[in-house]
Symmetry: C2
């Protein structure tokens, strides 16, 4: 099924959305908010599934679903933890500064604790105070879990994945080196992120949901032109169940915790750095990546980071070309 | 006023607690949960204050307040961000490994994003899977804010501090070096923390709340003996309003966000490392600190980290010796 939160108060109003993402039926008589649904998933999910069938069969009244009326599926969450499943991205970062990737990165995932107290809506602008902060998008996959016990295995973690979304993990690249040098990880360099208008259950992905990754390209457009077409199953060093298990090693995860994949990133056809979409490559899911490739190739980066007026769109389409999650579409504005 | 959340469901049941922390009156007719109260603070706080006056004047029926029935005031929160106000602690860490403290640390606070999806209750045991993980307590002060706008000044941030608590920021020291080496900050090394049974408004601290710090000693007992008596105003390089402003530099903070002080730490009377309480010093608010002092003095640490059966208690008393926040009291158990 497909679920969304219409903008309403702090936590939105839960609705069930049709498979083609054009119609919705209110679900607040079953669960007022997405968090409530996740808190009571075993009881609530069957009722939401029944409503979804009615929406699909058009046996309940529906209204037009406007993606710009949607908040992030969880407008705020109790946890947002973002991994780095696509080590290719990390390899490029390191290669650009002549460093090697520690061997441990291939079996021990990178993960940071992100801010989750307020997410941008999928069509909200990205407020930016200072272009020197180096605003970047990061196109990623994210999953939402129910209650996960401490020490869960990756195998068992897969069953705790209840919903899947896309995310634009907004990053302020100019603030990252200083923060990482301090040793405590990202904080100011990770402002509010935005998630796709719709969250879907894994069965909605059909055969494309394989081994807890999505075998489909992530469509990232920048200023209206194709920028990234990286396949989210390819070169995924870790799958999302492994990232959930990593997050739960020393503590329980509360229902509604969101775990991210990190920037989706593919190697080039020759195993080297990827090439732009305009040259037939899979392109990039963030600007930093093309800048690293420019640095490796030319000695310096030429593509600048985002400034007011720049737009990013992130979407994923099924084999028939239909949007699965709706579209994240954001413009950077001066804050 | 003083507020607490009695254990009930995922988010507790809000109660108003008497100044002497012995009686309570239910407040769920005003606000069902602490988060609800913070989400609607301007409307709700006057009603809670009125109930608090009634509790103090014994004009409403009250029940006995048992601290072991209390959850953390926010049993789960949308944000927990922990600073390092007491640079003395950082200086000792660095001194123990012959490194210097970067000059920037004195004007740009260290802060990490902590997990907030589930806190231990103040009398809950600390589950530990492996003593090699190096379980440690960290006695700290934490504040809860209402909605804070991005870019707030430290002066304005002070007015957003609505509640104050104590916290035991549980740390797994054995996992920290590996995580920090990866560069993304703490994750597995920071399991669930516990907050004091009671959260209080700043006015409850009277003259002890000065310039957004508390001018009182934090009482940390370890296995029943005094371990730390560090004054929380002394050697505070940053106050809590400055830490709130740091957290809000690039994003809004949602009502109910918790910002922590980092481990409270005082220098010795001679300006050097502090001495144990048993030797007349202010002692330590975490085990790591005494281990650093042992390392500096003896070349190696002799005090071991916590193991199942070890207990920690954290409390603060007013000038008359009365407990302000109730007591955090936890035993480490095998998970």
């Amino acid at each position: 099924m497909k679920l969304a939160s219409l903008k309403s108060g702090r936590d939105g109003k839960l609705v069930v959305v049709s498979k083609d993402v054009t119609r919705y039926s209110p679900a607040d008589h079953i669960a007022p908010t997405m968090q409530y649904a996740l808190d009571n998933w075993a009881q609530v999910a069957p009722q939401l599934e029944a409503l979804y069938r009615d929406v699909e069969h058009q046996t309940v009244p529906c209204e037009r679903f406007h993606e710009h009326d949607a908040a992030s599926p969880l407008p705020r969450a109790y946890q947002w933890a973002d991994g780095s499943a696509y080590i290719n991205h990390v390899e490029l970062v390191r290669q650009a500064r002549n460093a090697t990737v520690p061997e441990s990165f291939y079996h021990d995932p990178l993960m940071y604790q992100g801010g989750s107290d307020g997410f941008l809506a999928p069509r909200d602008p990205i407020p930016l105070k200072d272009t020197a902060w180096g605003c970047d998008m990061e196109g990623e996959i994210a999953v939402v879990v129910d209650d996960v016990p401490m020490g869960v295995s990756a195998e068992d973690a897969a069953d705790h994945i209840k919903l899947i979304m896309l995310v634009n993990d907004v990053s302020l690249r100019g603030l990252i080196p200083g923060e990482l040098a301090k040793g405590f990880g990202f904080f100011q360099s990770k402002p509010a992120s935005a998630f796709s208008p719709v969250a879907v259950t894994p069965d909605e992905l059909g055969d494309a949901w394989k081994n807890s990754v999505i075998d489909l390209p992530l469509l990232v457009d920048y200023n209206g032109a194709p920028f990234g077409r990286a396949n989210a199953a390819q070169e995924a060093t870790f799958n999302l169940a492994q990232l959930v298990a990593h997050a739960a090693k020393t503590r329980n995860l509360c229902a509604g915790s969101i775990i991210g994949s990190g920037t989706v990133s593919n190697k080039g056809a020759d195993g080297g750095p990827g090439t732009p979409v305009s040259e037939g490559g899979a392109g990039y899911s963030c600007i930093a990546e093309i800048r690293m490739i420019e640095t490796i190739r030319d000695g310096e980066a030429s593509t600048r980071f985002m400034a007011p007026g720049d737009t990013v769109a992130i979407e994923m389409r099924d084999a028939d070309g239909h949007s699965i999650f709706g579209k994240i579409e954001q413009e950077v504005i001066s804050a």
